[in-house]
């Protein structure tokens, strides 16, 4: 890591990206993640040494697209068994706190 170059990420950006991912970090975590993510992005920068002009991206090693099965009804998971694992349930549905505002 060179001291002279601009860092990829500031503390504030790390906290913001965490917020986008629905994670809340402590101040200590933000400090630690900022230098650790900098190392990862430095490593990623090594790729700029490669000539990638005209190289197509690989999304998937086997290159499958649109795998379909016959449109026939088959048994699915048991509803009660699935709901039994949910943190909160009402009337056979997953229950969450208010989506907007506060409750």
């Amino acid at each position: 890591m060179s001291d002279a170059k601009e860092p990829h990420l500031t503390r504030e950006e790390v906290a913001f990206v965490a917020h986008l991912a629905l994670l809340e970090l402590t101040d200590e975590e933000v400090d630690q993640f900022t230098w650790q993510l900098e190392e990862v992005l430095d490593t990623a920068d090594a790729m700029t040494a490669l000539d990638l002009d005209g190289v197509e991206p690989t999304h998937h090693p086997l290159g499958f697209t649109n795998v379909m099965r016959p449109d026939v009804v088959v048994p699915s998971l048991d509803r009660d068994e699935v709901l039994a694992q949910a943190p909160d349930v009402e009337d056979h549905r997953f229950k969450v706190p208010a989506a907007l505002g506060e409750q």
Binding site: L9, V14, V17, A18, L20, A21, L22, L23, E24, L25, E29, F33, Q36, L37, E39, V40, L41, T43, A44, D45, A46, M47, T48, A49, L50, L52, V55, E56, P57, T58, H59, H60, P61, L62, F64, V67, R69, L77, D78, E81, V82, A84, Q85, A86, P87, D88, F94, V96, P97, A98, A99, L100, G101, E102, Q103
Partner: protein, 486 residues
Amino acid sequence: MHAAPAAFGTAAQIADDVSSGTTTASAVVEQHLARISEHEGDIHAFNLVLAEEAREAAAAIDERISAGDEVGPLAGVPVVLKDNMCTRGVETTCSSRILKGWKPPYSATVADRLTDAGAIVVGKANLDEFAMGSSTENSAFGPTHNPWDLEKVPGGSSGGSAAAVAAGFAPLSLGSDTGGSVRQPASFCGIVGVKPTYGSVSRYGLIAFGSSLDQIGPFSTTVEDAALSFEIIAGHDPLDATSAPEPALPVRSKLDAGVEGLRVGVINEMNGSVIEGLDADVLARSRAAAEALAAAGAIVEECSIPSSVYGLSAYYMVAPAEASSNLARFDGVRYGLREDGPNTALMNQASRTAGFGAEVKRRIIVGTYALSAGYRDAYYGKAQRVRTKIIDEFNAAYKNFDVLLSPTAPSTAFAMGDKTADPMMMYLNDVCTIPSNLSGQPAMSVPFGVGDDGLPIGVQVLAPLMGEVVMFQVAAELERAAGGAA
């Protein structure tokens, strides 16, 4: 002594003995459960030991045998599943607080295929949380210890599965390999570990980490056992849309064929001259493996995969990007931990913040950043192009070679706590294994002697897509050269 691979016979021997009535599944299970009781306290290979369930399953197998019913090719064989593979009604945690107590409503296809073949699941193995790590120290439920030296890590992320086999808790286990998570712990624990061709083993019921990289594979003490279990778990599964529409390859067919005339390429970049940080004793064992294959009649030459040097850079963009997407499903709504919040978004955030450990959070943040507007092409897009280059170079090499050879991991098992402070130090463990995940091609680690510290060293055999038959053929020769099973 904690290390005792195949303490009570290999999977093939046990299945033969149980099927022929020489022993019973119940007796086999009791032997293994007794060994688990004695050593598990020191090793912590398991998140959950399924003693009663295993006894019941064994009794059922024995009943079928006395009734003269057909039992499968793994009759009575104790197996261990990595705890990121769903087992219906049985807690499956990914070694994460966020899934503590979760009992899946369905089983992974690999679990069903093993039990349909007569195998008996004796436990769910510890792992780095959500399979993110190379030492099994990132588990929310405490680390696993290496049976060869309790102060050393077993490798990871499938460290519990590897340690269970090395300790003689079961002759066979399954792990998942996203960047080396089967092969590196196999090397550290002195056993065989396989990363099959992407799509050849169903991932239905495997909790996803990096969906374009993840593949399930076996750990065993012999190449034959790995081949036997691969033939059972591989083959098309309509429940997995990424499953290759082909039957399992007959990988046991050439185990005794030798390597006369086969062309073996030694990957130049991984011989210590280009990729740095590979230990001298590891490189020496890799060279010895090449010499052993040459002595057995193979044509051994150097080859080059120049872009493999950039594998680590590409992987640590692709894997976190896919992980950040896959782990978005853990939000406290349908399963797992919920922490209260005044509204749904804050409940989601509180649940994820309390449920995920540090390494998982790091990777979610890296992945979210790599996919964010303005950076996506510079990071994720570039990494996907590097991936294409690596694939092209491997394919060019396989025009001249049947298999390729390299070290599996840069070192023998390292001390617990040694690499936890600096994630990049930990990530470097995967430098030789990552290229095969990026390319989707199969690779496996075979024990080939020990290092200066007396701990096991594995060598890696790599093969083209769906090249498992020749990969196992070469692995079997290395096993013979190393003096048989560990």
